[in-house]
C-alpha cells in the first residue's frame, strides 16, 4: 500500500516538475519573441517549411474529410427528412472544427517531428552550445522563428483546408448525392458567418504555436544520442496531438 502511494507520489512530482520546466521554457521563449535581434530570414524559411510544404498533405486530408462529411451528414440527416441541411452542416463542421483540427494533427506529425529531430540532433551534437559560444542566443535563433512561423502559418493553411474541404463536400453532394449545385452553394454561403471562420483560424494559430512549442521543447531537452532524439520526436508528436485536442475543447467552450 505504501509502495503504491509512493509511486503515485513520484509520478505526481514528476508531472509537476515536467510542467514547471515546460512553463519556464515557454515563458523564456515568449520573452525572446519581443526582444531583438530578430531573425526574419529564419522566420521566412520556417514559414515555407511549415506552410508551403504542408499544403499537399493538408489539402488531401481536407478534401477527403469534406467528401466523407457530406456522405455521412446526408445519411444521418435523411433519417429526419432534413437532407437539405447537408450544405450547412458541412461548411460549419469544416470551418469551425474539422479544418483546424485535422490540419493541425497532420502538421503535428510532419512538422512537430521534424522540429524535434532537428533541434534534438543539434542538442546532442553540441551545436546548441556552439551557438552560445558564437554570441547567438539559441532561443532567438532556433525557437522563436519556429514558434512565430507556426503561429502565423497554421491559420493560412487552415483557410486553404477550409476551402478545399467545402469543395470536397460540394463535389460529393452534387455529383453523387444529386444536390442542385446552385442551391448547395447558396446554402453554404448563406448560413456561414464570419465568426465561424475566425474562430477556426484563432484555434489554428493556437495549434500552430503548440506544435512548434512541443517540437522545440522536446528537441531542446533531448539527451543521450540518437535514441534520445528518437524519443524526443515521439514525445513531440504525441504531446502536440493531445494538446491540440485538449485546447480544441477549451477554446471551443470559451470562444462560443
Amino acid at each position: 500500500m505504501l509502495d503504491f502511494l509512493a509511486s503515485v507520489g513520484r509520478v505526481f512530482i514528476g508531472f509537476l516538475s515536467a510542467s514547471g520546466r515546460l512553463a519556464i521554457f515557454t515563458l523564456t521563449a515568449l520573452s525572446h519573441c519581443f526582444r531583438p535581434p530578430f531573425y526574419f530570414r529564419l522566420i521566412g524559411r520556417q514559414m515555407i517549411d511549415i506552410g508551403y510544404y504542408s499544403l499537399p498533405v493538408v489539402g488531401l486530408t481536407a478534401i477527403f474529410t469534406g467528401m466523407v462529411l457530406a456522405l455521412q451528414t446526408n445519411t444521418g440527416f435523411s433519417r429526419f427528412g432534413a437532407a437539405s441541411a447537408t450544405a450547412t452542416v458541412v461548411v460549419l463542421s469544416v470551418t469551425r472544427e474539422l479544418g483546424p483540427v485535422i490540419a493541425a494533427l497532420m502538421v503535428a506529425g510532419r512538422i512537430g517531428a521534424a522540429i524535434a529531430a532537428e533541434i534534438g540532433t543539434m542538442r546532442v551534437t553540441d551545436q546548441i552550445d556552439a551557438l552560445s559560444t558564437l554570441s547567438t542566443n539559441p532561443y532567438k535563433y532556433l525557437i522563436v522563428p519556429r514558434i512565430i512561423a507556426g503561429l502565423v502559418t497554421l491559420p493560412i493553411l487552415v483557410l486553404v483546408a477550409d476551402i478545399i474541404g467545402v469543395f470536397g463536400g460540394y463535389i460529393v453532394s452534387t455529383y453523387k448525392l444529386g444536390f442542385n449545385p446552385a442551391t448547395y452553394l447558396h446554402n453554404t454561403a448563406n448560413n456561414l458567418t464570419s465568426i465561424d471562420v475566425f474562430s477556426g483560424l484563432i484555434k489554428a494559430g493556437a495549434f500552430g504555436f503548440l506544435i512548434a512549442l512541443m517540437g522545440c521543447y522536446h528537441g531542446f531537452h533531448s539527451k543521450g544520442g540518437a535514441q534520445g532524439v528518437g524519443a524526443a520526436t515521439t514525445y513531440a508528436v504525441v504531446s502536440a496531438s493531445v494538446m491540440i485536442l485538449l485546447f480544441d475543447y477549451l477554446l471551443t467552450s470559451v470562444l462560443f
Binding site: M122, T125, Q127, A130, T133, L134, T136
Partner: protein, 258 residues
C-alpha cells in the same frame, strides 16, 4: 605572463544525479598561457570546460575570468562574457544546415552583425589559415572528412579572434599526421592571436607540443600540474601510468574480469 590569472577556478564541484564528476577542481591559467588538461575518458574534462564557459551550471565553487566572479552573474551578463571565448567542441559541432564558410563566419555575422560579404572574406582567409581552400568553403559540413571538420571547427573558433580559446580533444580520431597538423595550427593560432588556451587531450604527443603547462584530472580533482619538460620525472605514479599508457597502476578502470 602577468601575475593575475586570466582564468581562476577554485573548488569547482559538479554532480549529475548521484554521480560526482567534478569534486573540487582548482586550476589557474595565466594570460597568454596554454594549459593542457589530460585525463582518462569520462573523468569530466568536457564538463570542466563547459562549466568555465557557463554552458553547464556548476554546483559549487568559484570561477573567475579576468578577476571577475562569473558563477553568480545573470544569464545575460554570462552570455556577453562568452564573446571572449572561442571553443572547438569535441565532435566539431558544425551547423549542418549551413555551408562551411557560413559556419566559420557565423560568429561574425550573427554575433557581431558584420556584413555578409566582408564576413565571407574573413571566413575564407581563416579557412586558408587552417589549410583549406575556398572551394571547401562552399561545401556542407557533411561532405567533409573528420579531419577537415576539425579544421573547420578550429577556423570557426578563432574567426572572431577570441581572448580565450578552448580546444576539446582537437586531435582525437585523426591519423597521426593530421593530428600533428592540427597541433601546429593550434600552436600557431595561440601564438599569433596571443590568446589564452585550454586544451583537452589524451594524446601525450599533442600535449607536449601545445602545452606551456600540463594538468592531470583524476577522480574529479587536478592531481598534478607542471611543465611538459618535467612530466617524465614527476614522481607521480598516476602521471607515469597515464603517459606510458599502462593498464597496471594506481588508476583503476571500472571494468570487471571476464
Amino acid at each position: 605572463m602577468s601575475d593575475a590569472p586570466k582564468i581562476s577556478v577554485r573548488g569547482l564541484k559538479k554532480s549529475f544525479g548521484r554521480k560526482v564528476v567534478l569534486d573540487g577542481i582548482d586550476l589557474d591559467v595565466g594570460v597568454g598561457e596554454s594549459v593542457v588538461v589530460i585525463g582518462g575518458s569520462g573523468t569530466g574534462k568536457s564538463v570542466l570546460v563547459k562549466s568555465i564557459l557557463g554552458l553547464i551550471d556548476a554546483d559549487q565553487g568559484s570561477i573567475k575570468i579576468d578577476g571577475e566572479e562569473v558563477t553568480t552573474l545573470s544569464r545575460g551578463h554570462r552570455e556577453a562574457l562568452l564573446g571572449k571565448f572561442g571553443m572547438l567542441f569535441q565532435g566539431a559541432a558544425l551547423f549542418d544546415s549551413l555551408d562551411v564558410w557560413e559556419n566559420v563566419a557565423f560568429g561574425l555575422i550573427q554575433g557581431r552583425g558584420m556584413e555578409r560579404n566582408k564576413a565571407r572574406d574573413i571566413a575564407m582567409a581563416k579557412l586558408g589559415a587552417v589549410g583549406l581552400g575556398p572551394e571547401v568553403g562552399e561545401l556542407r559540413p557533411s561532405e567533409l572528412s573528420g579531419g577537415m571538420q576539425k579544421r573547420v571547427a578550429l577556423a570557426r573558433a578563432i574567426a572572431a579572434e577570441p581572448e580565450i580559446i578552448i580546444f576539446d580533444e582537437p586531435t582525437t580520431g585523426l591519423d597521426p599526421i593530421m593530428g600533428d597538423v592540427i597541433n601546429d595550427l593550434i600552436v600557431k593560432c595561440v601564438r599569433d592571436l596571443g590568446a589564452t588556451a585550454i586544451s583537452i587531450t589524451h594524446d601525450m604527443a599533442s600535449a607536449r607540443k601545445i602545452a606551456h603547462r600540463i594538468a592531470m584530472i583524476y577522480k574529479g580533482r587536478i592531481i598534478w600540474d607542471g611543465a611538459p619538460a618535467v612530466i617524465e620525472h614527476s614522481g607521480n605514479a598516476f602521471i607515469d601510468q597515464f603517459i606510458h599508457g599502462r593498464a597496471d597502476g594506481p588508476i583503476q578502470m571500472e571494468i570487471r574480469a571476464l
